[in-house]
Symmetry: C2
Subunit: 320 residues, 2 copies
């Protein structure tokens, strides 16, 4: 019987799970509300339901991996902090879940951005590289790293916060309190901020105002992408800002770490054709020639599934 | 007989060598002109002289380590590039030197910033940490890294170029061609640039103009430090700029890598009391709380000897 792993991406809104083969294919998928606002016990109940549903039908499960948005001590399986799950601090998530499941198979817990990096590294755009960063341009900006063939989590499991590196000393305010973070320029929130500033500038003649009239906030990045594809200058400028900021951050990574690849995922990567070449040009202009020549800048291959597949890969135990 | 290693810091101007004990003490030291302008054969001749002088007197030498300003393939011992040594490209430095010395003991070759990082890690301010960066604020800004107890050299031996990471998108021009690099704000060259701009601004009333009248360029940072200690506002502002730039770069490192320590060396660190607390405050203001709480920001303990001692440590073979 084929050995399979369960991978689950634990989001603040949904648990998205999959049955993953050893070659990284997702054979079955499932999504349930996570009910993170109701606290960790509710989340564990829902995790149990996802796992039960995925393992039904007599499959041979080697283990289950979870990508969790928070700070994880991967050795002990303790969830140190998780801003999106109500009142969690230093919670022994692995032990609790193994107990709930009767120790049927081992559980692996990883930070969600790191799980996505693992997915791309083992089965996606990062296959074959030994050092890379996966940058997720979503509502915010996340990052996960592999250095010298090993996951780099940092001393406290906090590494990869490329979204909160300053690229512009006097730049726009970030949610983290800092000014000029990458996230202030290259996230869905940043696209919304820039679109809002353009629309409110009534001396500016832009069709973006009509495109965005009455649009719900979550659809704004997608509409700004459509407007750019139709040639709206203000919309094109927004994606240029995204590309410039991403390019500065990538040049910094190339020069500091001299790694082999940067893989761009997250919701904004659906519009990557509007900014990725611009980012590449900025990297070339700002970075040193040898590390820049080395750095491949690629679009995510696994998209939203990277975190599920990477969490599954953890359970196959090839990753340290 | 005590086992000793030879460590040599290969500068563009001087070769500075030392006899290093297994506990990192320098028992003997020696400096000779490197004659790097005369080409690699001249440098090799001078390296041979330094090594001969250091090994004289019947000591037991386990090997010699060299810190070289350039790109090194540490596996093959090939000097890929070295801008400060005339017409060197892909030169088999280790093999050439071992041949010259008749294979008496092994030779180890490392990038000079990495050698300095090794020195601080094994025997200086970095002792006991398993992940750190050593940042050298000299004429330019260099960096060497240890991650998870291993030297991180990057894919092409180019890692550590923290001096050429952008902290200010619209910032001052850097020698590398980019704008707003750390090096444009926190190097001896940057202090000279800022002092020059202040002096040329004739509407500005500053005693810096008198302090610096007729001063040779290489003494300017030291004089600006003295002026700051005597309370000159323009001089204090320059060191605040140094501290702000360093602080942004350190916050970026904390957030991206979540490492344990950053050690500040190089000539400017002689004035560290004028900027290091300011840098610490900037890190706290700009970085995320957990990685910032983890990051110790320390002054170099080995100073100019870090590279020599680190090169010697290489020869003891404890380092990969």
């Amino acid at each position: 019987m084929q050995k399979l792993a369960i991978g689950i991406d634990v989001g603040g809104t949904n648990l998205r799970g999959g049955l993953i083969s050893q070659s990284g294919e997702m054979l079955k998928r499932l999504s349930l509300p996570s009910e993170a606002g109701a606290g960790i016990e509710a989340v564990i109940g829902n995790l149990k339901s996802v796992i039960s549903a995925l393992k039904s039908g007599g499959v041979d499960i080697v283990g289950a991996g979870l990508g969790v948005p928070g700070i994880i001590d991967t050795q002990s399986g303790i969830l140190t902090q998780a801003p999106n799950i109500s009142s969690v601090k230093n919670y022994p998530l692995r032990a609790a879940l193994e107990r709930e499941l009767g120790g049927e198979f081992p559980i692996f817990i990883e930070n969600d951005a790191t799980a996505a990096a693992l997915g791309e590294w083992k089965f996606g755009a990062g296959a074959g590289f030994s050092s890379l960063i996966v940058i997720t341009l979503g509502t915010g900006v996340g990052g996960g790293m592999v250095l010298g063939g090993r996951v780099w989590r940092g001393r406290d499991g906090m590494a990869g916060e490329i979204g909160h590196t300053t690229i512009h000393r006097y730049g726009a305010r970030c949610n983290c309190g800092n000014f000029g973070c990458l996230e202030s320029y290259a996230s869905a929130n940043a696209v919304r901020r820039m679109a809002g500033e353009i629309i409110e500038n009534h001396s500016l003649n832009t069709s973006l105002r009509e495109y965005l009239a009455g649009a719900p906030a979550e659809r704004i990045p997608e509409i700004v992408a459509q407007a750019a594809r139709l040639g709206d200058n203000s919309a094109l400028w927004i994606w240029q800002e995204v590309g410039e900021a991403l390019g500065i951050a990538l040049a910094n990574i190339a020069n500091l770490l001299n790694i082999e690849a940067a893989i761009i995922g997250g919701g904004l990567s659906n519009a990557s054709e509007l900014f990725i070449d611009y980012a590449r040009a900025v990297v070339k202009r700002r970075g040193l020639s040898a590390p820049v020549a080395r750095l491949a800048i690629l679009k995510s291959e696994l998209g939203d599934d990277a975190g599920i597949i990477g969490a599954g890969a953890l359970a196959f135990g090839e990753i340290r």
